[in-house]
Amino acid sequence: MPEFLEHSGTSWQGQKVKHHRSIVDHIDPRLRVVMASLFALITVLSQSFLSLCVAVGVGLLLALLARLNLKRTLRRVLAMDMFMIFLIILLPFTTPGETWFSILGLSASKEGFLHAVVILLKAHAVVLTLLALIGTLSATVLGHALARLRIPDKLVHLMLFTVRYLEVIGQEYKRMRRAMKARAFVLRTDRHTWRSIGYLIGMLLVHSLERSERIMDAMKCRGYQGKFYLFDDMRLSQKDLTFSLIFTPVLCLLIGLNFL
């Protein structure tokens, strides 16, 4: 992964990234999770272009309302596009149908191209909405919201622990990487490089495993017996009602546009 994208891959910590306060912050986290999930579900199931274009519009609007940082958002969307780019390139050539153009004897079909565009629209609509509604939550709040939505405890704790220790493991990685550089290690395409990187990853796994054992010990020392407790209270307010009243018809509209 190129360096400028490496960052967005490993450093989602929610709380560390500052964002401007916006009206989205006043909406109850649980409601945001539920609405974003419904929106994603509807968008993914939609087939009509009109509906998908509206969905992208809604995503953009939400992103504007949430006053997302332009640079950061672009970087994240770009990170996703890197993921999809091969799909988009390959689809026209692999989908059977009316020939649109051909390169080196391979014919690209119009159906394949349209299919690729549909996937692209879906992905962008969903990602923009997620960034606006859920990306603006801190990881802790998101974890608690999920717990209150009756998501199994184990999954929520898995997420919270990941958020807590991703940074520690990331730092460990950087520390070892720096130590390697300090001994004149340069990435090359040879056996030495592959082996060294293999050691690095293996060491990271071993360290993480050992750390997890120490954490478990530390928790036992403080009387942990398998149960966690949540602190914050979450209550629905007038603003949440207003948001639901606006957003539900939008969702219905998205569904409806499919049947025009």
Binding site: Q15, K16, A139, T140, G143, L160, F161, V163, R164, Y165, E167, V168, R211, R214, I215, D217, A218, M219, K220, C221, R222, G223, Y224, Q225, K227, Y229, F231
Partner: protein, 220 residues
Amino acid sequence: MSSDESFFKVTGLSYRYPRRGVVLDQVDFELKRGERVALTGPNGAGKTTFLHLLVGLKKPKTGQIWAFGKTRNDEKEFVEVRARAGFLFQDPDDQLFCPTVLEDVAFGPLNLGKSRTEALQIAKDTLTSLGMAGFEERITHQLSGGEKRMITLAAVLAMEPDVLLLDEPSNALDVKARQRLIDTLLSLPQAMVIVSHDADFVDQLSTRELRLENAALMVI
């Protein structure tokens, strides 16, 4: 065997690792009320192992551990020991696993069966008593090393233990943070076992010193 003045009494304790070999051989040890025992010794001598054995995180090969009025053998019996002997780990990052400071400090009291409001109150009071008021909503992994150390101490003290087991508490602290830790520990009433390589730290705190070398405990 029981006496009101003792918290821990250990007789004939042995432990060996598969590859490191014997690290403790027939060790006897006693911790009395009001004592601050320093435990020194070379790296890998088994100091941390010894502390782990005291609270049952590892199982001794031979020997008896008598703690807080009872002989302790299995996991269940050690749960109470852990509640009364606060363990401060070498690396604060191992101990601070909750996202926010307040949650982390309240974790122990909640496990001891306190209600949410009580636990929060205890957590706030403990933080205030250590001069860490205002840190409640801070994110644990964004604290400095010295701050992390004080928060882990608060997390342990919030359980109101009778004994503190400190595993190299002054590691990686700067002069100021280290002195602050010493002053705080001196003001606490708890009996302590302090594992440390820091001679001055040990001099300022301990009431007696033991050295663990060649699998045996020696009085200094």
